[in-house]
């Protein structure tokens, strides 16, 4: 019996690999299993290898499994590229159509089951249903019902035609039956049962889109880019339902400037992009900072530099987000680790943006943005809306006639009252030039210093709530520090090492600005050794920690930058290796 299952389906892009994986994972999620599903795809539309790796567990996990149990292959390339991930005793289920064979390196440990997916599909009405056949075969192998995906197929095709649903289910059943005839020890692949717990299933971008909707965002100007586009595409469907609007702008420069305009005029507004688009937003980002206009920017990191690896995972834009604009502004950067955190971080983002009157960037990485995961249902009551310091009409009425409203009043906490155009008595000026309290250009020495201080000191010393999470041992021998989607892999690595008797702690950083340096310092000081784990080539997080003055002779950097996220076993092995080396 399998306590957890790691299954992968692969073939050519445009062949329906996506939806095969999605049908499988969604169905299992509905049954109460926890899913983590990660897609491999490339920057082209049809053709080229793609695969979907679905990990099925009975407890929440937020990483791919180390190994594959089952590989469903629609072409030889799938076997050649992914076969090596199969564990001893793993199975390849392959379409007979392409005369599959196992490379020599695999043949001794892995079993190849050849099934006529395409032929069976044809017999049931359409080649395209070969995916269904494969799902049926999988179901039989892991001990699910043949109709395990009925509800999902119903939701997907039911509105189109019941016939399609039925045909598909028959194809599934045919695959199921065919697999029954194979000589396999089915008990070895039987998936352990789970409690029928209800959870959502979504990608991080969904959680952000839904979070924005719930937080009251009503205007989203954006420009398509992988892996950010889903946020826009989600809100295009939803905002019309609440009187909001998405505008696909001509470029990212327009997107952020329009977001600024909308926010200035009182809407909660956001935009979403990835590296190349972020690069184009730098000037407007500075404008938002200088004019203290609350905006929310979603930055989904992908492989860089330049166009880089648009469909691959990387965490290499931390510097750009933190330091990319010219001049000095205050900004908040949130780095949630999971879709659940992404949802609440998005709600927080809008509140912070208006509370601190500054740009807030929610920074994800490709794995967080695009991996589908089981997620606890969100709590409606936990969604609150705080629009920050808005001037009341009484305050505005007190502005002496002939004078302007002090939009940039220098208050003790640096936060000034806001008004929206349209409000009587609130007239003032806004400019990206250094300005006075009423927003008039003012190049005076004293004024610049005071205004710089006002803008920069808003979060002096502040650590936002939940700036880090901590798991593992207190006073550990080694402290692992990560950011973003790596939480799952690092947590699993941590747990395994602890089971081996090592004292390991794990801090995941959830806020990059204001950077929680104090909290982090006490964690680092409580540990003998520290390892900063991140997906880039230069150690951005590592250097960032030093940037804030925290250095430590036993602080090491562990980098991975081949375009794929960390696996638990990699964390385990690398940390162990480092501890052995260190103890010697």
């Amino acid at each position: 019996m399998l306590q957890e299952l790691s299954w992968k389906v692969g073939g050519q892009q445009g062949e329906g690999i996506d939806s095969t994986g999605k049908t499988f994972s969604t169905s299992l999620n509905r049954m109460g299993y926890y899913i983590y599903s990660y897609r491999h795809f490339s920057s082209r539309i049809k053709g080229g290898h793609t695969n979907d790796n679905v990990r099925v567990t009975t407890e929440p996990k937020s990483a791919s499994a180390d190994y594959l149990d089952i590989l469903v292959a629609f072409d030889q390339e799938t076997i050649d590229l992914n076969g090596g991930e199969l564990r001893d005793g793993g199975i390849v289920i392959a379409d007979a159509k392409f005369n599959p064979n196992l490379p020599d390196t695999l043949s001794s440990n892995v079993k190849l089951v050849v099934m006529p997916f395409t032929k069976i599909a044809e017999e049931h009405g359409a080649v395209i249903m070969k995916n269904m056949v494969a799902l049926g075969a999988t179901a039989r192998l892991v001990g699910l019902e043949a109709n395990f995906c009925a509800s999902v197929l119903q939701s997907r095709f039911g509105r189109k035609s019941q016939k399609i649903v039925d045909q598909n289910l028959e194809a599934v059943k045919a695959g199921y039956d065919t697999m029954s005839n194979e000589q396999i020890d089915f008990s070895a692949f039987k998936l352990a049962p789970t409690t029928p717990d209800k959870h959502l299933f979504m990608i991080g971008n969904d959680a952000i889109g839904f979070g924005a909707l719930a937080a009251g965002a009503r205007v989203m100007p954006a420009y398509p880019i992988t892996p950010a586009s889903d946020v826009m595409e989600y809100l295009i469907k939803k905002l019309p339902k609440v009187g909001g609007v998405v505008v696909q702008t001509e470029d990212e420069i327009a997107a952020l400037n329009m977001t600024i305009g909308a926010s200035y005029a009182g809407a909660r507004a956001l935009t979403a992009t990835s590296g190349p688009g972020l690069a184009l937003m730098m000037e407007a980002l500075g404008l938002a900072g200088m004019t203290e206009t609350p905006v929310v920017i979603i930055d989904t990191q992908r492989g860089g530099p330049s166009t880089g690896l648009p469909t691959k995972h990387e965490q290499s834009d931390m510097y750009a987000v933190l330091f990319g604009n010219h001049g000095e502004i205050g900004k908040i950067v949130l780095t949630p680790s999971t879709p659940e955190e992404s949802f609440y971080a998005t709600v927080d983002a809008f509140n912070y943006a208006e509370k601190y009157q500054c740009p807030v960037i929610i920074m994800t990485d490709l794995a967080l943005s695009l991996a589908s995961q089981s997620v606890r249902p969100f709590n409606y009551d936990a969604v609150t809306i705080d629009r920050g310091r808005l001037a009341t009409q009484e305050q505005l009425d007190q502005v002496p006639t002939g004078q302007m409203f002090k939009r940039y009043e220098r208050t003790e906490d640096g936060i000034s009252p806001r008004v929206f155009p349209g409000q009587r008595g609130g007239l003032h000026h806004v400019t990206g030039v250094e300005h006075s309290e009423i927003g008039r250009p003012d190049e005076g020495k004293k004024n610049h210093v005071l205004m710089m201080n006002k803008r920069l000191n808003k979060f002096n010393g502040t650590e936002l709530p939940n700036s880090v999470s901590y798991t593992g041992d207190k006073n550990p021998d080694i402290l692992l520090i990560g950011v973003g989607s790596s939480i799952g892999a690092i947590d699993e690595g941590t747990e395994r090492l602890r089971k081996q008797g090592l004292k390991v702690g794990h801090v995941q950083i959830k806020v990059l600005s204001p950077f929680p340096i104090n909290t982090l310092t006490s964690y680092v000081n409580s540990a003998k050794q520290t390892m900063v784990i991140e997906s880039n080539g230069t150690g951005q997080l590592f250097h960032l920690i030093q940037f804030f003055g925290l250095t430590h002779p036993e602080m090491k950097s562990y980098l991975k930058y081949d375009g794929t996220p960390f696996l638990p076993k990699e964390i385990e092995a690398h940390v162990k290796g480092s501890m052995i080396a260190w103890q010697r």
């Binding site: 209800k198 959870h199 959502l200 969904d206 839904f210 719930a214 009251g216 009503r218 205007v219 100007p221 019309p240 339902k241 609440v242 009187g243 909001g244 609007v245 505008v247 001509e250 470029d251 420069i253 327009a254 997107a255 400037n257 329009m258 977001t259 600024i260 305009g261 909308a262 926010s263 200035y264 005029a265 009182g266 809407a267 909660r268 507004a269 000037e283 407007a284 500075g286 404008l287 004019t291 249902p377 969100f378 409606y380 969604v383 809306i385 929206f420 155009p421 349209g422 009587r424 008595g425 609130g426 007239l427 000026h429 806004v430 400019t431 990206g432 030039v433 927003g439 008039r440 250009p441």
Partner: protein, 288 residues
């Protein structure tokens, strides 16, 4: 009710004496007064340049953004509050140089915004480089041997972009300009008023005198029909872009905000942004 006075503030523009932009400022103030708008219901979004300072010189909500991006900001403002009268303004470099793409896209997107360009065929604030509307052969700091690029025609490109309202004014004629701005504001959709606004410091060719000599008012052509796009294109070509007055208006064009799916009459800014529990739960359910 509002008058021109209410759109004046006590700030002295930092333009050079004689700069054409003073007349544009006055015309905007008059137009807004004539239209009986309240200062708080007007937002003026400007770019960077001498001209870009204008958002600070009209008593209304003013936003002075970055170079070339007044239109994206203005469109954002309009999205958030469709009740506002939104003006965008800036220079020829700002609007037809660095900001040209935004201009063309704003024109075809057609939000209800009135865009006023102070066209002096020069970069004023950076001290006299040639601009996209500088004529071929024009000598500026950056073209000591004469400009070898062909000037852009704001009128031609505006028509090519499918603009719904197009006019051209001249700083010398405040009353004409005032009327054009009024008409632009009244037009439901995107409008451009290109204004010959001489830079007395750096452009010694396209002076007030030069424009007086070279421009012709469309009133001189009694048969001219500004609702006829073809006629407009021809007239612009025939006058080499030097005609003033209302050049084109398509009154049937629907503005963007009236076309947005699900958009409400109440501006976004005045809506309750909380979503109700039911909608929340149902929407969440879609992820199960």
């Amino acid at each position: 009710m509002a008058t021109v006075k209410e759109f004046r503030n006590n700030i002295r523009p930092n333009w050079c004496p004689g700069c054409g932009d003073f007349a544009v400022q006055a015309s905007i103030q008059r137009a807004l007064g004539n239209l009986d708008l309240e200062p708080e219901n007007v937002a003026i979004i400007s770019g960077i340049g001498c001209s870009g300072r204008i958002s600070g010189y009209v008593n209304a909500y003013g936003f002075h953004g970055v170079h070339g991006r007044s239109l994206p900001v203005a469109q954002g403002v309009k999205l958030a509050n469709r009740n506002l009268t939104v003006l965008a303004a800036g220079g020829d470099g700002d609007g037809f140089g660095i900001g040209l793409g935004h201009f063309m896209h704003a024109a075809r997107r057609n939000m209800d915004i009135t865009y006023i360009v102070m066209d002096n065929s020069i970069y004023g604030l950076t001290k006299g480089q040639h601009s996209p509307t500088s004529a071929f052969g024009f000598k500026a700091k950056t073209t000591p041997a004469g400009n070898i690029e062909n000037a852009i025609s704001p009128l031609q490109i505006a028509l090519a972009a499918g603009i719904g309202f197009l006019a051209q004014g001249f700083s010398h004629d405040v009353s004409q300009l005032t009327e054009l701005i009024q008409a632009g504001i009244r037009h439901k959709g995107f409008s451009l008023i290109n204004v010959f606004s001489p830079c007395v410091t750096y452009n010694k060719v396209n002076t007030y005198e030069w424009y007086k000599e070279h421009t012709i008012s469309l009133e001189q052509f009694p048969d001219y029909d500004p609702t006829n796009r073809k006629m407009a294109m021809e007239k612009v070509a025939d006058t080499d872009g030097l005609c003033t007055g209302l050049i084109f208006e398509d009154k049937n064009k629907q503005p963007f905000d009236s076309l947005v799916e699900g958009f409400k009459e109440t501006p976004v800014v005045h809506q309750d942004i909380h979503i109700d529990r039911d909608f929340f739960e149902k929407t969440m359910e879609e992820f199960a």
